[in-house]
């Protein structure tokens, strides 16, 4: 069987990421052979030794499919976003970080100065008597050393370049990735540019198997460890903030299957501009009081609204970082 089969060229890159998205690609398990049968992986820092210069030397639009995971935290991430955009036919923001900023995006609740202070001076394990901080340019006698510039704020991929598709999730459900991959390989008609792929337009509650009633009235919100879950009733009805109503389905409700509340990693449902605003709206509706003082007390029990409603989406929200 030496018959030449036209393979697609594929790249996977990570910006400010934890590596989980790359692992979710590996989670295709034995199907990886099928992937390799249909695609040449031309760039994948976690697995291959292709250098940036090799990518820069590729012809424009020569990569058929690029999965960009991770947020844009520094000038290196942004540079590779620009390069990969130029070299790729289809650029996919893969995972919550590239889509909305993800967990690294929570750093937008602090300034760069505060991040540096904590990381290089104040943290318990740091010994830095000379108060040294990373510099983008350092002159030594052997020459000039450079480091990427750490940005003032974490950005989403589409804030630095044009993105064709968004494949959400932290990490994306591997089955959804396979569906998208097969669509590209088989040359199926792709959805319009800018679409969210590998997820449904319906909210997660649609997919969730827990028992739900219309009686969503809450006198106090609890953090998950503060209540004994009964393992069958809707978590919201038990007073646990679950992002289900404001989040796309597609993940298979995997957090709820594990008896944890939804964190919103699949992002807001169709046509919603701000990921957390709808959840704030929903939570407020559930507050079981018309008395202002009592309402204030119930709101107090939502300990960290920014970190709860925008856990994976601070950079992708309307007020995308804390202002001074």
């Amino acid at each position: 069987m030496t018959e030449e089969k036209k393979k697609i060229k594929m790249a996977v890159y990570w910006g400010a990421a934890c590596g989980g998205c790359c692992v979710s690609v590996l989670d295709v398990h034995e199907s990886l052979f099928t992937v390799v049968e249909h695609a040449d992986l031309v760039f994948w820092p976690i697995a291959l030794d292709t250098k940036y210069a090799d990518v820069e030397a590729m012809e424009d639009k020569s990569i058929d499919l690029t999965l960009f995971n991770g947020a844009v935290r520094n000038s290196e991430n942004e540079h590779m976003a620009h390069v990969l955009r130029k070299k790729s036919k289809v650029l996919v923001a893969y995972g919550s970080c590239a889509h909305m900023g993800g967990i690294p995006g929570l750093a937008n609740l602090s300034s760069k100065k505060e991040v540096f202070r904590r990381a290089y001076h104040d943290s318990e394990s740091t010994v830095n008597p000379d108060k040294i901080e990373p510099q983008t340019v350092t002159e030594v006698k052997e020459g000039t050393l450079t480091l990427p510039e750490f940005y003032e704020e974490v950005k989403t991929l589409d804030q630095v370049t044009d993105v064709d598709y968004y494949l959400p999730g932290c990490p994306p459900n591997t089955a959804r990735l396979v569906e998208v991959f097969l669509a590209v390989v088989t040359g199926a008609e792709l959805p319009p540019s800018g679409s969210v792929v590998g997820a449904s337009d319906k909210p997660l509650c649609d997919e969730c198997k827990r028992e739900k009633s219309d009686n969503k009235k809450v006198k106090k919100f609890y953090r998950p460890w503060e209540v004994q879950d009964d393992y069958k009733t809707c978590l919201l009805e038990q007073g646990i903030v679950c992002m289900g109503p404001a989040t796309r389905s597609g993940c298979g409700a995997r957090c709820i299957e594990g008896n944890g509340p939804c964190r919103g990693c699949y992002g807001p449902t169709k046509d919603v501009v701000d990921p957390g605003a709808k959840m704030m709206s929903a939570i407020a509706t559930m507050i079981d009081s018309n008395d202002e003082e009592e309402i204030k007390k119930i709101v107090e029990s939502v300990v960290d609204p920014a970190g709860t409603f925008y856990r994976v989406s601070v950079p992708g929200s309307i007020i995308r970082r804390k202002v001074s």
Binding site: H82, V299, I318, I319
Partner: protein
């Protein structure tokens, strides 16, 4: 020119907008700093509207609805009250002074009170100074020139 704040007002159709209208038809004067948007109910004010107003340069947002118990839709104003407190907590975390968001009840007959409210709130915001959201967030927007300059380095 001295600083003049921009205030976005969301007024419910049934009470507060009618109240503001009464202030107008009674020829009462109040500062033109407020830009009024009529909504059918204060319960219609989605948190997105408020955040978008701040993002686009509002120095403050004033929401007015019917007095408790008077809502045309029975409890829209209570929903608004609850959202307002959640939002206030959130904007404070994002570095926006919670005083920049205010909820007041104004009935259809309270034209005078509405004019006084706008007068007093405008003065308060004037003293607070401009809201930094638009200016700071505009700085970080994607710019095509930076993309071209960055790619030129590798060409």
């Amino acid at each position: 020119m001295s600083y003049e704040p921009k205030i976005v007002g969301f007024l419910c159709n049934w009470c507060s907008y009618t109240g503001a209208d009464l202030a107008g038809t009674s020829r009462m004067k109040y500062p033109s700093n407020i830009r009024i948007l009529r909504v059918m109910c204060s319960g219609r004010v989605d948190p997105t509207f408020v955040l978008k107003a701040f993002r686009e340069g509002a120095d403050a947002v004033l929401i007015c609805g019917c007095h408790p118990g008077d809502c045309h839709y029975h409890e829209g104003n209570y929903k608004c009250l609850r959202r307002y407190h959640v939002l206030k907590k959130y904007i404070e975390q994002m570095g926006i002074d919670p005083k920049r968001l205010r909820l007041e009840w104004v009935s259809a007959s309270e034209g005078k009170q509405f004019a006084a409210l706008v007068e007093e709130y405008t003065q308060q915001i004037r003293e607070l100074g401009p809201c930094a959201v638009k200016e700071e967030l505009d700085k970080g927007e994607k710019k095509k020139e930076t993309v071209d300059a960055d790619l030129a380095k590798t060409a």
